[in-house]
């Protein structure tokens, strides 16, 4: 199985403070990899570094080609959809406009209307609110919108930053079920950053644990789930 994303020795800093100290990991094509860790460990920073949103050094290969010198927009145009912390909704624009924006990086415009319809089939709640200002949607709906918007890109790789954040358990469950469906039907590769380890490990096939900017544990998601000592000391359950 080939890797769609290979990261070697990634370092990143906010100004003078170094947050990532040379981490390496990969995401298999069609697979789900999850990055776990406590607050401040460097998970979100990793995603931002991958997309060129902060200063970074190291090697990032997307489908074998280097992208670590590219600007954010160009990385996105190569088929990487990043759902940021806080969803990144365009709150002053309508739900439907948000979806259209998701497809902005696609060169051909013919299939876009079809894709919008497809997303509304996946997420009927969004269809109800298609002309509403996106900022008025509930947290769960905004998360669905964020996922739908990312899917509009027909991405090769999806980066998800804490999709469970701020959501009630029931909604979170729904979101993760949707993510599992999407992964199964579209075969989208995913890199999932999460604090909710149990949900993440259910969805993922591979897991890494980050602690203060370094990867301390890596392996099979199922194996980590079974490992009592790791769960107890790192994942809190």
């Amino acid at each position: 199985m080939s890797a769609i994303l290979q990261v070697n020795n990634l370092e990143a800093s906010y100004g003078a403070v170094r947050v990532l100290r040379g981490i390496s990991f990969e995401v298999q094509k069609g697979g789900v990899t999850t990055l776990l860790g406590a607050n401040g460990a460097g998970k979100t920073t990793t995603l931002r570094a991958l997309c060129g949103m902060i200063r970074r050094s190291g090697e990032i290969l997307l489908e074998g080609k280097p992208v670590h010198r590219l600007a954010t927009e160009d990385i996105v145009r190569r088929g990487v959809a990043h759902i940021p912390e806080g969803r990144g909704t365009f709150s002053t624009l309508t739900t439907e406009e948000n979806l259209h924006l998701g497809a902005m990086a696609r060169p051909n415009t013919d299939e876009i209307e079809n894709d919008v319809r497809k997303q509304f089939d996946y997420f009927p709640r969004l269809k109800e609110r298609r002309n509403q200002q996106a900022g008025t949607l509930s947290g769960g709906e905004q998360q669905m919108l964020a996922i739908a918007r990312a899917l509009m890109l027909r991405p090769k790789l999806m980066l998800l930053d804490e999709p469970s954040f701020g959501l009630a358990p029931l909604i979170t469950r729904q979101i993760f079920d949707i993510l599992a469906d999407v992964q199964r039907e579209e075969g989208t590769s995913m890199l999932l950053v999460e604090q909710n380890a149990s949900l993440a490990l259910e969805l993922a096939d591979r897991a890494y644990l980050i602690e203060t900017g370094s990867i301390v544990i890596s392996g099979d998601a199922a194996a980590i789930r079974e490992d009592e000592s790791v769960r107890a000391s790192y994942l809190g359950y």
């Binding site: 997309c51 949103m53 600007a71 954010t72 927009e73 996105v76 145009r77 959809a81 990043h82 940021p84 990144g88 909704t89 365009f90 709150s91 002053t92 624009l93 406009e97 259209h100 924006l101 998701g102 902005m104 990086a105 415009t109 918007r149 890109l153």
Partner: protein, 292 residues
């Protein structure tokens, strides 16, 4: 009663100038969430370019579109060359650069074309509009062009991909990048469009107030007043605001006696302050909530 009506209509036609200027201001605001204090000078410079081309013998229906294209390119270039390097600097730096731009354009215009007043012929011709005693041809032309521009802009933002990209880039630059929008290109495009609209405003105004390098400062103030009154996030609001400012200014001038005529700029000032304090998003603007 007829005097009142006349004042209203006269106010509307003056207001067309302010509406155009306000539209240009809102356009820039949409693109960069900033107010360009040099907008008036850019419009003035464009008007001089148009005048120069016509002085060289070009017909107005060639000179004006050419000027608009030049202004589009010029605005784009100014953003790329002068503002892009400081895009992350604090607001104060931006304000100083706007002022620098103001000084440069004003002085350059005076140097090239000197400070004597030039009269400009209206492309719409002189005389009453359809024989009406209330409206002149040029005034009708001004109102018409403003409405056409407004509709064009509305359609652009509502129905085109680029328009949507621009709105997204201004609303949430980071998210815009994450959907692949080249935000800095959109910003530069916004500048170009604002410059083009400003050029149209200047060309419409020049036949009325005569062409000279200092013509635009007070008009810029009225343009700001109109934009604030209508709402900085709404092009339609800007146009309505501009017309309203024209009407209010005219009514004050007529009904407040001699003082009224001298108070025009103060009225704009008071209007701006009152709107910003009572309803900062203006009549048609959207309220922007600041999350902690």
């Amino acid at each position: 009663m007829e005097l009142f009506l006349h004042q209203i209509i006269s106010g509307i036609s003056n207001g067309a100038i302010y509406a155009c200027m306000a539209l240009s201001v809102v356009m820039i605001y949409q693109a960069i969430h900033h107010l360009n204090f040099a907008q008036g000078e850019m419009a003035m410079f464009s008007t001089y370019i148009a005048w120069q081309m016509m002085a060289w013998g070009l017909v107005w229906w060639l000179a004006i579109p050419l000027t608009i294209l030049i202004s589009l390119a010029g605005g784009f270039a100014i953003e790329r060359v002068i503002f892009k390097p400081i895009e992350n600097a604090p607001v104060l730096s931006h304000i100083v650069i706007f002022i620098a731009l103001f000084a440069i354009l004003n002085s350059l215009a005076g140097f090239i074309w000197d400070f004597t007043i030039k009269s400009v012929e209206s492309p719409f011709g002189k005389g009453p509009f359809m024989g009406s005693p209330l409206l002149g041809k040029h005034q009708a032309g001004m109102i018409g062009v403003t409405i056409v521009m407004l509709v064009g802009l509305w359609a652009f933002f509502r129905f085109t991909r680029t328009g949507l990209s621009m709105r997204a880039a201004a609303a949430n630059p980071e998210s815009a990048r994450l959907v692949g929008i080249r935000v800095s290109r959109m910003t530069a495009l916004g500048w170009g469009m604002a410059a083009a609209i400003g050029a149209v405003a200047g060309i419409l105004i020049a036949p009325v107030v005569f062409l000279e390098p200092n013509m635009m400062l007070s008009i810029l103030l009225y343009g700001f007043a109109g934009a604030v009154l209508g709402g900085l996030t709404s092009p339609l609001g800007a146009v309505i605001g501009g017309f309203l400012v024209g009407i209010i200014e005219n009514l004050a001038g007529t009904y407040l006696g001699g003082v009224g005529a001298e108070l025009k700029l103060s009225i704009a000032l008071v209007l701006i302050i009152v709107v910003l304090v009572v309803k900062p998003e203006g009549l048609l603007g959207r309220k922007i909530v600041q999350r902690v």
